[in-house]
């Protein structure tokens, strides 16, 4: 079971957002996708999930081509995603956000559910129980009957991941799951994501938070201007001079920045206050 990008290309008129990207994502690992803004990271997720069309090349899971399929078909092929700007079903309860994920498998029984109450009760209980199980894993069970939109931001991010899990997906595409989270919440998130590592699961995490990426990911793909710049383990990525030049910056860069800041302060006559 592998997710394969093959000569992937995405073009908007003259603007090439993804330029001939080929790589593979194996199960049992957490893959990070990093790069400067505009490098194409989210575009990769959007193309895989079917939100964007593919200009050229292909995306396949287990040899089955995903590009060209409709969004819901891709989702039912085992791809789950979260969004950069959280898109929960705000006015539905937390539990309902998860329960509704059983629709693809359960919709065919709707007539029975509606006309035969005992069966309906059984199904509803089953859905509730599976939902609660996932909520418990994320520590959200206390919010089960609250409106999803009323949850604190950090919890909403967790809920989005919980919903992706409720889809029983083989592939998890997480688009900046730590955006807007504070230090503590990010640590919590990192721990939870690590727990999700599984030989039946492919995990892709697009992120800007380097601590998270370096700690969590087993393999990192570095994007730059739509091209795949580098891929390797965290150590390899950090050591790569290409990556440092393009994105991470070097130790020298930091010294340069500090020196420039000091000059500017001197120019403006601001005295740097020492913190004791």
């Amino acid at each position: 079971m592998t997710l394969v990008f093959s000569n992937l290309r995405k073009q908007y008129g003259a603007n090439v957002a993804i330029n001939d990207v080929s790589t593979e994502f194996a199960p049992g690992l957490i893959h990070g996708v990093i790069g400067p803004n505009g490098a194409g990271k989210s575009t990769l997720i959007n193309m895989t999930a079917g939100s964007y069309t593919v200009s050229a090349g292909s995306i396949s899971l287990d040899g089955r081509r995903l590009d060209g399929m409709k969004k819901h078909q891709i989702a039912n092929s085992g791809i789950a995603r979260t969004y950069q700007n959280i898109r929960l079903f705000d006015q539905m309860t937390v539990l309902e956000n998860l329960e509704v994920c059983s629709y693809p498998t359960e919709v065919r029984n709707t007539w029975r559910e509606v006309l035969w109450p005992p069966y309906g009760r059984v199904r509803a209980e089953a859905r509730r129980e599976s939902g609660m199980e996932i909520l418990r894993f994320f520590g959200l069970e206390g919010y089960a009957d609250a409106e999803a939109g009323s949850l604190p931001y950090g919890r909403q991010r967790m809920l989005e991941i919980a919903r992706a899990l409720a889809m029983n997906a083989r592939v998890l595409l997480l688009d900046e799951p730590a955006a807007g989270l504070n230090h503590h919440e990010t640590a919590e998130l990192t721990a939870k994501l690590a727990e999700l590592r599984s030989p039946d699961r492919i995990m892709l995490v697009v992120e800007h938070d380097m601590d998270l990426v370096m700690t969590l990911c087993d393999r990192i793909v570095v994007m730059h201007h739509g091209k795949l710049l580098f891929q390797g383990t965290p150590a390899e990525v950090q050591a790569s001079s290409d990556v440092q030049l393009a994105y991470l910056g070097t130790v020298n860069d930091i010294d340069d920045i500090r020196a420039a800041a000091q000059d500017r302060r001197a120019q403006l006559g601001i005295r740097a206050r020492r913190r004791s």
Partner: protein, 316 residues
């Protein structure tokens, strides 16, 4: 044959001009607020009634309706409806600016019902004869008859549309309105007075619609409280056909629709051997509306919705 062609062309241009005046109101409101104003057809209707009111006041005061009286009545009525439009926006739509996309539309449905029944109560539900604002002389032009009413309508409409075009593209207010149409949040951040821009649109749109109403009532000699409904829908079709949100598009769509209507109602009985007659004229516009929305919802001059906006904004 040429005479008929000339005749029909003038007919189409005339009715197209009226559609254009109303369509502009729809498209401008959609441009700034992304909302379909179901009450816009009623601005059309109110224009006719307001002009009628002005005229009866004049007849009472001055005793005769001269050209001056007509002009004052015309401008008075359209300006009054313009201010009325601003008032409606403040009352019924402004509070809903940050609500769901559905809410202002539902509100405009309520406004529409209120206005129609309001006029029904005030002035009675039956149609009322409407005096012509133009001298009724007929001219023979290459075998076809053109009335001065039609000429008057064409001139009035072109003048108004030209004025709008100039305002939108060359005045400061026009830039502000266009900025708000592009992106309201950005305009706000830039310190643009968004409320003013929206009010301006709700002044100009109803004003033009009212003008259309007066011209329409002059042309057909009749007005009624429910005259806004069907015409409103046709004008909306025109705006969509041309590309909703685009001012040139609204004008283009209006004339195309008018020509299709005039041509269609002439040809329909011929094609279907009398089975489908001119009563199906209205059906024709609805069919066009549905086809445009299915095949090319962006219209002729409009921009299609981008992929990216689908991912980052909630779809309605």
């Amino acid at each position: 044959m040429l005479g008929t062609l000339i005749q029909q062309t003038v007919n189409a241009l005339t009715i197209g001009s009226i559609y254009a005046l109303i369509a502009l109101g729809y498209t401008m409101v959609y441009g700034v607020l992304r909302m379909i104003n179901f009450a816009h057809g009623e601005m059309f209707m109110l224009g006719a009634y307001a002009a009628f009111l002005a005229l009866t006041l004049f007849v009472g005061e001055i005793g005769a309706i001269g050209a001056l009286g007509l002009t004052i009545a015309f401008f008075g009525a359209v300006v009054a409806v313009g201010f009325f439009g601003v008032g409606i926006e403040r009352l019924a739509y402004k509070p809903l600016r940050n609500s769901t996309r559905l809410a202002p539309m539902l509100s405009s449905l309520g406004v529409s019902l209120t206005l129609v029944t309001g006029i029904q109560i005030l002035a009675g539900p039956q149609p009322v004869a409407f005096p012509s604002f133009f001298p009724t002389t007929r001219y023979d032009f290459m075998g076809g008859t053109v009335t001065s009413v039609q000429i008057g309508i064409l001139i009035a409409a072109f003048v108004l549309m030209f004025a709008l075009y100039t305002l939108v593209n060359r005045s400061r207010m026009g830039i502000i309105v266009r900025a708000v149409s592009e992106s309201r949040p950005t305009a706000q951040l830039l310190g643009i007075n968004v409320n003013l821009a929206i009010s301006a649109v709700f002044f100009a749109g109803p004003l033009l619609g009212a003008a259309g109403g007066i011209l329409y009532a002059s042309y057909y000699g009749i007005m009624s409280p429910s005259m806004g409904a069907v015409i409103g829908l046709k004008a909306f079709t025109a705006a969509i056909l041309g590309g909703i949100g685009s001012i040139p598009g609204a004008m283009l769509g209006a004339y195309i629709l008018a020509f299709v209507e005039v041509g269609g109602t002439a040809l329909l009985p011929l094609i279907t051997n009398g089975v489908l007659g001119t009563e199906y004229r209205d059906v024709l516009s609805f069919v066009i509306l549905i086809l445009v929305l299915l095949v090319k919802p962006a219209g002729i001059l409009g921009e299609p919705v981008s992929e990216e906006s689908m991912v980052y904004k909630r779809e309605f």
